[in-house]
């Protein structure tokens, strides 16, 4: 396999709050290779967004604090670089696409000028005319109709889907090596989501970038990702190829998500929810953070006392469960309730 273009190693991020220290990210590691899409899934508060925000120097310090870790971009640690150096890397080398395109576009500037600016900032020799031409090409590439006219419009004149396309155009502008998309389609209707996901695929192909797709939507992950990292309570609980994660999960949390998910295909006769609520990241349960909600941990001392490490359960498939091989048995048992064979 090629060298990873982006590699997050043992990242630990904490926040000071009046209620105590929030352990938002607790030893997270994952790699992204050129041309592949890494899906990062987890529910709210799992730390999936904070991980990349911290990696790119986008969290406020204080109250935030990076306690440990490395973020290797093409082999070079970019964690702790000063703001000037980071700014050169962000957008040009590593571009981000956020959930809400209305708040990430400036409402008082023309959409086209904002994309052109991204080009001009990183290239002193580029003329305004050339920047406009390249921007119009980019808008066309992401499927904005009449790109030349759309160039001169303001964000409020764009619909939600069109705005997200403009954001993708902006992210692609400098041919980045890494695209980070944080819930890029969550605010969009399903038909528009389908269009934007298609555009994301085009963007990844055009740039050859490695993509990090952060989402809570398992459908989007199944559709887009090559490999998947599952996060829970600030930790990675499982990672592997998309097929392994969906068809041979080795962590009970991942299985629990599958069994909680209604299917448009109708295979799910009855949902089997994960009991209880996610833990507070201020005071995590001892041992495995998932054990209070885990059907497999009942009566098991080990789960309550020892934090499971993320280790290879089978080639290329990592799990942070003390009993990764029992997940398949549990899956069979749960299938008898839900009707869904994993």
């Amino acid at each position: 396999m090629t060298e990873p273009v982006l590699s997050i190693r043992d990242l630990v991020v904490e926040f000071d709050t009046t209620d105590g220290v929030v352990h938002a990210v607790d030893g997270v590691s994952y790699d992204v290779h050129p041309g592949e899409t890494m899906g990062v899934v987890g529910e709210s508060g799992s730390g999936k967004s904070v991980t990349v925000m911290a990696a790119l120097g986008l969290i406020q310090i204080p109250p935030g604090r990076i306690v440990n870790g490395e973020v290797l971009y093409k082999g070079r640690n970019i964690l702790g670089l000063d703001e000037d150096e980071l700014r050169k890397i962000r957008n040009k080398e590593i571009a981000m696409i956020f959930q809400d395109p209305m708040t990430s576009l400036n409402p008082v500037f023309k959409v086209g000028d904002q994309i052109a600016e991204a080009l001009l900032v990183h290239d002193d020799k580029l003329t305004d005319d050339a920047a406009r031409k390249r921007t119009v090409d980019l808008l066309e590439m992401v499927g904005v109709p009449n790109p030349d006219r759309r160039f001169d419009q303001y964000p409020h004149e764009y619909s939600g889907g069109m705005r997200q396309r403009a954001m993708i155009a902006m992210a692609m502008a400098n041919q980045p090596s890494v695209l980070i998309a944080d819930e890029p389609t969550t605010a969009l209707d399903v038909t528009i989501q389908a269009q934007v996901l298609e555009v994301m695929k085009v963007a990844a192909e055009e740039t050859g970038a490695g993509t990090v797709m952060i989402t809570h939507d398992l459908g989007v992950v199944a559709e887009m990702a090559d490999r998947v990292t599952v996060m829970y309570a600030g930790r990675v609980v499982e990672s592997g190829t998309v097929d392994e994660i969906f068809h041979n999960p080795k962590h009970p949390y991942t299985l629990g998500l599958m069994m909680s998910l209604p299917r448009v295909t109708g295979e799910m006769q009855k949902l089997l929810p994960i009991p209880g609520n996610p833990p507070s990241v201020i005071s995590l349960p001892p041992g495995c953070a998932f054990h209070p909600r885990c059907r497999m941990s009942e009566g098991r001392e080990l789960c309550r006392t020892k934090v499971p490490e993320l280790v290879e359960a089978s080639p290329g498939h990592m799990s942070a469960c003390h009993f990764p091989d029992e997940v398949a048995i549990e899956a069979k048992r749960e299938a008898s309730v839900t009707g869904l064979e994993v």
């Binding site: 069109m162 399903v190 389908a194 559709e223 990702a225 097929d243 996610p278």
Partner: protein, 348 residues
């Protein structure tokens, strides 16, 4: 103790065929006002001729994208809005033009649960007060109200000890349970559920969906379930109506809608849903719609979907297609034809 004055569904002649709620040609138009004198210059046709029935102990799902009028429909049905036109018949009574005062006893039988569990609970009231409020308003609290509140909290799988706490002490899923307990306080016949699980994480969403299904089984409730998530709608609904730009374009049992859709919009919608199974990635055909939803203040002539439809012909601009039975269920398309967009068998 709550049931004395309740209109029960068995008493009602019109409801004898099992219909609890019957909506006919409902229209909800909002005036657009402009200028100093607030002159009406046009209308937003948010809901424009919607008809459906909800049966006893049945769930009707209304699904559609933002701005299609599904939430406005629910708000008009429970008379939070005054409908422009049409007829709403609930348990055999026409409530379309009923006064606020006359609506009071009706409201006992029809309750609504909102999407945002953070905005719909008063932050200054304890959970006990929130759940007791409907009982107090209807003068039913004195007689065993305390026990009733405890029972309601248990019904939604919260412990009665939670009653002394305030909404901010609860997670999103627990808040939604509180909202459901409040809606159940007066022993309603029907719940309008407006995106009740959209704000919740998957694992919590599943808990609330199961709870709603259990309560329905125990209390024989009818649900009007509004959502944009097609998977959730398929899971919970007995019958489904698909809405687009203020109209129901297709209506049938969930199997008919999901396995045999005949309206092009339903087909496009189903083809766009991401399926959580990477093995289905290949070979799936996606119907990509052009353009955006038209402005509901200026809807297209004839069929409202024609501007984005790949089947559109001249007749689609000239004649509005009626919602009529075609291929076994209701569809509002001049060129309705069943297409299997999602098949079960593809898997594995």
């Amino acid at each position: 103790m709550v049931a004395e004055e309740k209109i029960t569904y068995e008493d009602q002649g019109a409801a004898a065929n099992g219909v609890v709620l019957s909506v006919k040609d409902l229209k909800m138009h909002f005036p657009i006002k402009e200028g100093l004198r607030r002159k009406t210059v046009g209308h937003v046709y948010a809901v424009d001729g919607v008809s459906f029935d909800v049966g006893h102990a049945e769930t009707l799902g209304l699904v559609g994208e933002s701005g299609c009028g599904k939430s406005t429909t629910a708000r008009a049905v429970i008379r939070l809005l005054d409908p422009t036109d049409g007829e709403i018949n609930f348990l055999g009574t026409d409530i379309t033009r009923m006064s606020r005062k006359d609506l009071r006893p009706i409201r006992r039988d029809m309750q609504i649960v909102f999407q945002d569990p953070y905005a719909s609970l008063n932050p200054r009231m304890t959970v006990r007060e929130i759940v007791a409020e409907p009982l107090r308003i209807h003068g039913l609290y004195e007689d065993g109200g305390e026990d009733r509140v405890a029972e309601l909290l248990r019904t939604v799988q919260l412990s009665p000890e939670h009653g002394n706490r305030f909404p901010h002490e609860f997670s999103g899923g627990q808040r939604q349970r509180i909202g459901i307990a409040r809606a159940l306080a007066l022993n309603p016949t029907m719940l309008l559920l407006d995106e009740p699980v959209s704000a919740l994480d998957v694992s919590i969403q599943a808990q609330v969906i199961n709870l709603l299904q259990e309560i329905q089984g125990e209390l024989d409730l009818s649900y009007l379930f509004i959502a944009h998530d097609l998977s959730v709608v398929r899971h919970i609904s007995h019958r489904v109506g698909v809405m687009y730009l203020g109209h129901i374009v297709e209506l049938g049992t969930r199997e008919e809608i999901f396995e045999n859709p005949t309206h092009p919009y339903t087909q496009a919608l189903l083809s766009a849903v991401p399926i959580p199974d990477p093995r289905r990635r290949e070979g799936r055909e996606r119907i990509v719609l052009r353009g955006d939803v038209p402005n509901p203040a200026n809807p297209p002539s004839g069929c409202v979907f024609r501007t984005r439809c790949w089947k559109a012909q001249d007749i689609c601009a000239e004649e509005e297609p009626p919602l009529i039975e075609q291929f076994g269920h209701l569809s509002a398309c001049h060129f309705a034809a069943p297409v299997e967009v999602i098949s079960k068998s593809e898997a594995n």
